[in-house]
């Protein structure tokens, strides 16, 4: 059984030190985190690392990763992320992203599809819904957003570990920094790129779209819009699950991802 614990390191990208967790073995899988930043090596990382080499970078400006001063917009973040993958020394990767990480993965796929083997978008931002709205997590504040994110926190195996205690001052500082960073990149237009749906049809990549049926942040409608825009995609909806399938339903989530990625071998 390969090791599933990560190695922590920093790599330099565009002059910035970028924090990276890397673990497992097999084909490379790069995971872009959501607005709350890199929550560490979670159970879904461990499970996926049994079959893949998982790279979990902390995006610039979040957590321990530096943000180059010129990096201000989501478009900047997209181009930076291409460089980041290049610095990982990888020719071709599978890419998985959740919420803004999913949006980022979709943007990267649009700009450089030849770099990607398979694409996994999880409750991803990036497309403006036609009916509903993407909930304004900034306006709801941290506590209000927390109430919207999970369908049933009791079913989350890692809930206590992640949220069962008051954050230390250092952790609180990083939370504020992450919120500030998310605001910097995603303030306006809020959580979507108007041109993205028009560009996604060029992404001829096997694509898995995963959505929690009860997502109250990004409506399921957006999952359907992604499915319609990406030619070789399919949408898998997880029942009794909110916005965060990797944490709320890690077993079901990793099973879906593993099966999809192993279809590539």
């Amino acid at each position: 059984m390969p090791t599933v614990e990560p190695h922590e390191q920093f790599i330099e990208v565009a002059g910035a030190q970028i924090h990276l967790l890397k673990g497992g073995q097999g084909k490379p899988l790069v995971i872009f985190h959501s607005v709350e930043g890199n929550l560490g090596w979670r159970s879904y990382h461990r499970q996926l690392a049994q079959d893949f080499t998982v790279y979990a970078p902390t995006l610039p400006g979040f957590g321990l990763s530096q943000r180059p001063p010129w990096l201000e917009t989501f478009a900047d973040l997209t181009r930076f992320s291409l460089w980041l993958v290049q610095e990982l020394g990888l020719q071709k990767v599978s890419l998985l992203g959740h919420f803004i990480g999913g949006w980022l993965a979709a943007e990267v796929a649009v700009v450089c599809p030849q770099m990607i083997e398979r694409l996994i978008l999880v409750d991803a931002a990036g497309i403006q819904p036609q009916q509903g709205e993407i909930a304004d997590i900034f306006l709801h504040g941290q506590e209000g957003t927390k109430r919207l994110v999970y369908f049933d926190p009791q079913q989350m195996p890692e809930y206590q570990e992640l949220f069962g205690r008051k954050p230390t001052p250092e952790e609180r500082e990083i939370q504020v920094q992450n919120q500030e960073n998310a605001i910097r990149y995603c303030w306006k237009p809020y959580m979507y790129d108007r041109s993205l749906p028009w560009l996604l049809p060029r992404v001829h990549l096997p694509t898995l779209i995963v959505w929690g049926r009860e997502d109250q942040i990004v409506p399921l409608e957006c999952g359907e819009l992604y499915r319609q825009a990406i030619p070789e995609s399919r949408l898998a909806v997880i029942d009794r699950c909110g916005h965060c399938p990797p944490l709320e339903k890690p077993e079901e989530f990793t099973r879906l991802v593993r099966e999809f990625l192993q279809g590539a071998s």
Binding site: F138, H140, G141, V176, E180, R184, W187
Partner: protein, 403 residues
């Protein structure tokens, strides 16, 4: 000493329940404008303008206005409009805008034009203050809070250049780009209308202000804390080679006068629902300061530098959260008969030595009738005494001595 009169122009025809039922129980930003009655609003605008015009007649040196958005606590959502009216209808007093929230303007050149018009219509009576705005202003105008300070600084530089450099010129900044900056109407005052900066003590702003020789107006900060903040200004001023005096400092304080102490104490309590709104329901912290609004690294650095010199506000939560008795006891709101008020203001002036005194005469539920009586009493007894006090304590204002 320069005496200016202020009110936030509150709207109070709603209930605490209304506030509690709004999104995140906030009196600002998300408090529904369905609670606003334009008929009443029309009356209030006229009353507030009448009060300012009367303040001009009775000898205030300045009429101070401010601007906030999405809130019943301040009806000055388009402060420059009120300023333009007063520019035409008043005769003597300076029109003190404290201030235009620069980061929320996508077109600072247009703002430079508006202010130039006000300066000309008032025949050179404009004082153009600039602010970053509270976080609410960023939310309400969808201005990225992470760019607040950068936009403030760049918009300021662009406006000053627009006023002082013959056009046309081109501006290619980080947040603003203009092909042809050349507004035809330029301000009457040379090199440009005076700039004053109000605030509640962000060290970063105070240092910036001192470096620009701009007077800083402390907005009803605790007197001891104000002294600490003045020391930050003074240190920064010395760094660039000058010694600041009273002309570099202003202090805004709520002062309400009635015929008797008892009546003033009773009426003055209406101040408490001014800034805080009816019911004084605490605002969500991230509405006032969203993440990114304060540049954390710069703030941390400055706070570390001045931590030894900065005391916390002894009124926990400030005036808006404290009880009326405590607020009055600590001179954070001064109420009383003319004699009482004169004595209390004397204590404040001798301790803080500002060259500018902002007299916040009324707010919240204080009625127009009570406000007019307050102003009448100020004319007869308080203003002459304060002017004498300014001379006695040698407190030159910025028009007597250049900051």
């Amino acid at each position: 000493m320069f005496l200016m009169r202020f009110t936030e122009r509150a709207y109070v025809a709603y209930s605490e329940e209304d506030v509690k039922n709004s999104f995140r129980s906030a009196v600002r930003l998300t408090f529904s404008n369905s609670h606003f009655n334009p008929d009443l609003g029309a009356d209030l605008y006229h009353e507030y303008l009448d009060e300012y015009e009367y303040s001009d007649e009775i000898g205030f040196d300045g009429l101070m206005l401010n601007e906030h958005h999405n809130t019943p606590t301040c009806m000055g959502a388009a402060m420059n409009l009120e300023a333009a009216i007063l520019a035409r209808t008043t005769k003597q007093a300076k029109i003190i805008l404290l201030g235009n929230p620069l980061p929320i303007f996508d077109n600072p050149v247009r703002l430079a034009e508006e202010l130039a018009e006000i300066d000309m219509i008032s025949r050179g009576r404009l004082v153009s203050g600039f602010v970053r705005g509270t976080g609410i202003e960023s939310w309400a105008t969808n201005t990225n809070p992470a760019h607040n300070r950068e936009r403030f600084a760049e918009a300021h530089d662009l406006i000053i250049k627009t006023w002082t450099t013959p056009g046309p010129f081109r501006w290619e900044g980080k947040h603003y780009q203009f092909r042809v900056v050349n507004p035809f109407e330029r301000p009457l005052q040379k090199p440009h209308p005076p700039v004053w900066i109000p605030g509640v003590g962000s060290p970063e702003t105070i240092v910036w202000c001192a470096h620009h020789h701009y007077p800083y107006i402390y907005l009803e900060t605790d007197p001891q804390v104000t002294l600490d903040l003045m020391a930050i200004y003074a240190k920064a001023a010395r760094e660039v080679g000058y010694e600041p005096g009273p002309q570099n400092f202003g202090y805004l304080v709520r002062i309400h006068v009635q015929d008797t102490d008892e009546k003033a104490y009773k009426v003055g309590e209406g101040f408490l629902v001014g800034n805080a709104g009816v019911g004084r329901v605490p605002l969500p912290g991230d509405f006032m300061t969203p993440p990114g609004y304060n540049s954390r690294e710069a703030t941390k650095k400055l706070l570390e530098q001045y931590r030894h010199a900065l005391r916390p506000d002894p009124l926990y939560g400030g005036v808006d959260a404290a009880g009326w008795e405590k607020v009055v006891e600590s001179n954070r709101v001064i109420v009383g008969s003319p004699d009482t008020v004169i004595k209390k203001v004397r204590q404040v002036l001798s301790a803080l030595r500002p060259g500018i005194l902002g007299v916040w005469t009324n707010d919240g539920t204080i009625s127009h009738k009570d406000t007019m009586r307050c102003l009448q009493l100020m004319e007869k007894e308080v203003l002459p005494a304060l002017k004498e006090m300014g001379k006695e304590f040698n407190l030159p204002g910025p028009f007597e001595q250049a900051p």
